[in-house]
Each structure stands twice: as structure tokens, then as C-alpha cells.
């Protein structure tokens, strides 16, 4: 009985650390390393293009850390975290990581993690109709300890945009997506407006309307448009509707 090989990606900014994983994996038949990445951007790109089954992911890396990579990728790939720090273990399991390996680790411990990943894959194959898990949401709920987001990560196919919170003008709800407007550009993200609102700094971003979350620094003025209906005019001239509840929230902040 032949099995499809287990396709893996190794993500770690340290070459030696990648070498350990590669070496341990080489001892197993039916495992293929499809990519090795030295940073989070490459990892997102590799996973998007190669759709591997399993990713060995370092937590501390330049530009994007392991959790941010996972947030951008959703649940398409199983993850085994690899780090020298034990303080991320809880967060790792909150985002349903397969395992959490502490450097340095033995081949036996590594095999255990690999077995777990295979088990998870089998279980997933067995229940095809499995509803997709909202990993981004889980990452968001696992975040509060670190305070509001300082930057928003947006994945655009294999590309990743890092948008600092202070550069965002406003966020608009669009069907199943939200659209971030920043620096004259638009970034679509697969997330709910409520989740976005919860993750941003409430002292800066206010929900002025069911469909709009506004950076209050961008407001030029608010005008009465019709009875009970107002419009916010931004510095660049953009007009956004303000609901009655939204106006109450806005007045409280200003």
C-alpha cells in the first residue's frame, strides 16, 4: 500500500535549526521537504504556492513571527512550533498547533510530533465535511495579553502586506471580507468587522457605522446630512455614513 508523501515546509531563520529538522525528517520514508524558508514572508509564499501538509515553524523570526504566519495562512496547513522559549506553548495550543518542540529536542521527541501530525491528517481526511476553523479568530482571541494590534497583516495570494495601524484610514465591510484603506491603497482581508474592531486600539478606531471602522485621526468634521443621519468627512474629502449609535460612540471619543 503506497501513501502520498507527507509534504513539509521548514521555517526557521537559523540555518542550523533547519538542518536539525531536515536531518530528523530524512530518517522517515514518505516525507518530502518541499521548501525551506528563512523568514515569515517566504513561509507564507511557500505555503500559498505549494500547499504543504505540515509546517515546522519557528516562533521568533524577522518581519513576521510564527503566530503571524499562521494567522495569515489559516487552517490550510498543520503546524509544529519549534522554539527555545516555553512561554508561547499555551498560545500555540490555542491556535491548534499539532505540537510544540522546545530547542534542543531529541529525534524521539521529534518523531512523536510527526506521528501526531500524521494522526491529525488522517482524522482530517476521514471527516471531509469538517467546518473550517477560524484560525485568525483564534489567534485574535489568544492575543489580548499583548494589547491592541500595532500592525495589520494582510495576505494577497503569496504576498504579505504589513500595514501599521496608524496608517489605516478606515476599514469597510464588504460581503465576506473587510477592506482596509491605507496610504491610498485597499487591502482585502478575510475577517469579520467585529473581529477587526476587537483587535484594534479602541482609543483610535471607532465603529461609526455597521460597515465602517474609522481612524479618528482622519476626521475633518461631521455634518448633519438628513434627520438623524450624519456624514463624516475625512481630511482627504472622503465621506462616510455615520449611524446614530456610531455618532454616540464618536462623540464620546472626541
Amino acid at each position: 500500500m503506497t501513501q502520498d508523501p507527507l509534504r513539509t515546509v521548514i521555517v526557521d531563520d537559523e540555518p542550523l535549526s533547519r538542518a536539525v529538522v531536515r536531518e530528523y525528517l530524512a530518517r522517515h520514508a514518505g516525507v518530502e521537504v518541499v521548501a525551506e524558508c528563512g523568514n515569515g514572508f517566504d513561509a507564507v509564499k511557500a505555503v500559498a504556492e505549494l500547499a504543504p501538509d505540515l509546517m515546522f515553524l519557528d516562533v521568533q523570526m524577522p518581519k513576521l513571527n510564527g503566530f503571524e504566519v499562521l494567522e495569515l495562512l489559516g487552517r490550510d496547513v498543520l503546524v509544529v512550533f519549534i522554539t527555545a522559549y516555553d512561554q508561547y506553548a499555551l498560545r500555540a495550543f490555542e491556535v491548534h498547533a499539532v505540537d510544540y518542540l522546545l530547542k534542543p529536542f531529541s529525534a524521539e521527541r521529534f518523531d512523536e510530533a510527526l506521528d501526531r501530525a500524521r494522526e491529525r491528517l488522517r482524522a482530517r481526511a476521514g471527516s471531509d465535511g469538517d467546518a473550517p476553523l477560524d484560525v485568525a479568530g483564534l489567534v485574535a482571541t489568544a492575543r489580548p495579553k499583548t494589547g491592541p494590534l500595532e500592525r495589520v497583516l494582510i495576505r494577497d495570494g503569496p504576498q504579505v502586506h504589513v500595514v501599521p495601524a496608524e496608517r489605516i484610514d478606515y476599514v469597510e465591510a464588504q460581503d465576506d471580507y473587510v477592506c482596509f484603506k491605507a496610504d491610498g491603497r485597499q487591502y482585502l482581508k478575510d475577517q469579520t468587522m467585529t473581529a477587526v474592531e476587537a483587535s484594534m486600539d479602541p482609543a483610535r478606531f471607532v465603529r461609526i457605522h455597521r460597515s465602517y471602522l474609522l481612524n479618528i485621526d482622519r476626521i475633518a468634521r461631521v455634518e448633519l446630512y438628513a434627520k438623524d443621519s450624519r456624514v463624516a468627512i475625512l481630511r482627504d474629502g472622503t465621506k462616510l455614513p455615520v449611524s446614530r449609535a456610531g455618532y454616540a460612540r464618536l462623540s464620546k471619543l472626541l
Binding site: D13, E14, E23, N39, M61, A84, K103, P104, T146
Partner: protein, 343 residues
């Protein structure tokens, strides 16, 4: 209070004895004059304390202290004499103890000279007490300073070597054992060298800057194995290698340069340490590239706070530490007074 008044009762007795001898008086008459006078002067002499306070030995000039002491003693003694005369006059006019009272000439000389002497004595005692109090305060300050320095030392000893550094290094060795056994051995030696050098510092009050920089070099050598080409290090000791610094003062800063700097920069860069002595000041600067967009809040600032606390405990306001970020370069600049073996 009681010992003070007791001492003045003795003074009253002494005055009485002097009056009996010099001013031709009976014991009864002399005591009737001297005891109340001694009681009054006891209060007058309390003012000596304030005079001593207002003219501290350390700051006031000597002629000024002598002049003030003489003036104060003459004035109070003159006042005392006037009081004594009035008192004797009162006793006389009322006819109490008639005949047994001291004559005027004898009284003046004895009372005035004794008044001056007593006042000067009070001043001397006051100065003694103040000096004693000050030295006790100074002792306490020194003690408090030592306790603080010790605490800072302990805190920094605990924090000085990040355990994750060891875990990461061991992981590197684990990787090298199969791929590059010679490299693994080299890494073991580098790590051992760093650990031995840092353990040797235990109990050392201060070490020469040159030695501190060697330690940082060892540490960076170990980290270079882990980061490969992404980490370079440049250490420049222009002058002042002999100056003494607290051991592992730079360690938290160099560690930060890696964990909050190099780690976040894709292409890595150089950790630069530059030290130089200018006259009586020693300047040390540590620079490393950093990612301006890195997530904040990853650094707890404990390392820098520790270094600052140690510098403060040792040098107070004479030492400074400034951390700045400019154009993707993080820079920590330390300036401290020069201390050498000779003192």
C-alpha cells in the same frame, strides 16, 4: 533633660563655691544667688545648639565661627550678669539673707567669666553632638548605598545570561554534531570559553573594560555560529581598556542587540561596540541594526533598566545611559566617570 538639669545643678554648686571664696559671702547667701541663676542660664545655653546648627563646622569659615562664638557668649553672659545683679538687688532690698550676700565687685567678675566659659562649653558640646549625628547619618547613607548596589548586582547576575541563549546554543551544537562534527566541537569550546569567563567574574567588584569587551566578543562569537552570515561584530577599544566597570555591564545590552535587533532584520548586520576614554570620562556605545516596523512590546526593558540601576548605584548622577533609535539603528550610549586600580 534630667542629666542636663543635673549638670546645671552642679554648675550652681560650683558658682556658689566661687562666690563664697571670691565675693565674701556665706554659703547660704551664695546658694540663694547661684542656684536660681544656674537654672536660668541652663535655658539660655540651649541657644548654643542653634548657633552651632547655623554655623556648620564643615562650611563656615573658622574666623567666623570664633567671632560668632565669642559674641554669643559675651552677649549671653552679659545678660546673665544683669540678671544676677537684679536678683542680688532684689534679695537685698527685701532684706532676705541680709549680710550673707556676695559683694558686687566679686559677683561681677565671677559671674561674667563663668557665663562666658559655660556658653563656650555649651557650644563645644553642641558641635560635638552635631558631628556625631552627621557621621551616623553618613554611615547609614553609605550602608543604604551598599545594600542597593548589592541588590542591583544580584538582580543583574540573575538576569545577565539569558537561558534561551544556552538553549539556542545547545540546539546549534545538536545540529552540528552530524553535519559538521568539527564545527560542533568548536562551538562547544566557544560556549565553554564564554561560560568560564563569565563564571570567573563571580564575586569580582569591578573588572577592566578590556576584559568586559573580551567577554562580549566571546558571546558574539557563540551567536555567530547560530546566525551565520547574518551577524557580524565589530569591537573597537580606542582607549580606556584599563578603566574599571561592573562585570557584565554590557551583557544585557549586547543580548538585546541580538534578540531585539539582529533577530528582526532579514539581512542581519553588525553589532558595533566602541569604547573610549576622554579625560576623566569613559564612553561606551553599542549599536545594532533594528527593524523600525518590528512588533513593539517584545522588549520588556528589564535589561536596560538593570544596567541603569547598576550604574546609578555605583556612580549616582555621574553616570548616564541613553538609548536611541534612528534610521534603523539602535544605539545605547553609556558615559561614566573613570575608575582605575589606583583609585
Amino acid at each position: 533633660m534630667a542629666p542636663y538639669l543635673g549638670a546645671w545643678a552642679l554648675v550652681g554648686g560650683l558658682l556658689a563655691a566661687l562666690l563664697v571664696g571670691r565675693a565674701a559671702s556665706t554659703w547660704m547667701g551664695a546658694a540663694a544667688v547661684s542656684l536660681p541663676l544656674a537654672g536660668t542660664y541652663a535655658f539660655v545655653c540651649l541657644s548654643a545648639w542653634h548657633v552651632a546648627r547655623s554655623l556648620p563646622l564643615r562650611t563656615a569659615t573658622r574666623p567666623r565661627i570664633v567671632a560668632t562664638a565669642l559674641t554669643a557668649s559675651f552677649v549671653s553672659s552679659a545678660g546673665w550678669l544683669a540678671l544676677a545683679r537684679m536678683w542680688v538687688q532684689a534679695l537685698r532690698t527685701r532684706g532676705w539673707l541680709a549680710g550673707g550676700l556676695p559683694d558686687r565687685g566679686g559677683l561681677d567678675a565671677v559671674v561674667f567669666s563663668l557665663g562666658v566659659l559655660l556658653y563656650l562649653l555649651s557650644l563645644a558640646v553642641s558641635y560635638l553632638l552635631i558631628t556625631f549625628e552627621e557621621s551616623r547619618d553618613a554611615d547609614q547613607r553609605v550602608l543604604r548605598g551598599q545594600v542597593l548596589a548589592r541588590e542591583a548586582e544580584l538582580r543583574s547576575l540573575r538576569a545577565q545570561i539569558d537561558p534561551h541563549f544556552l538553549f539556542n546554543s545547545l540546539h546549534s551544537i545538536s545540529a552540528l554534531t552530524t553535519a559538521d562534527p568539527a564545527g560542533a566541537r568548536r562551538m562547544c569550546l566557544l560556549l565553554a570559553e564564554f561560560l568560564r569567563a563569565s563564571l570567573a567574574l563571580e564575586g569580582q567588584g569591578r573588572i577592566p573594560l578590556a576584559r568586559e569587551l573580551t567577554l562580549a566578543e566571546h558571546f558574539l562569537a557563540v551567536e555567530r555560529v547560530r546566525f551565520g552570515d547574518r551577524l557580524r561584530c565589530e569591537i573597537q577599544l580606542e582607549s580606556g581598556g584599563e578603566c574599571l566597570v561592573p562585570p557584565l555591564l554590557l551583557q544585557p545590552i549586547v543580548e538585546n542587540a541580538i534578540t531585539h535587533g539582529i533577530t528582526h532584520v532579514l539581512e542581519g548586520g553588525a553589532v558595533r561596540i566602541r569604547a573610549s576614554r576622554t579625560g576623566r570620562r569613559l564612553s561606551i556605545a553599542v549599536e545594532n541594526p533594528c527593524d523600525p516596523d518590528r512588533p513593539r512590546g517584545t522588549g520588556t526593558g528589564v535589561g536596560l533598566a538593570n544596567v541603569r540601576a547598576r550604574l546609578h548605584a555605583l556612580h549616582g548622577r555621574e553616570a548616564s545611559l541613553h538609548a536611541t533609535e534612528h534610521g534603523g539603528v539602535w544605539r545605547v550610549a553609556i558615559s561614566l566617570p573613570v575608575a582605575t586600580e589606583e583609585g
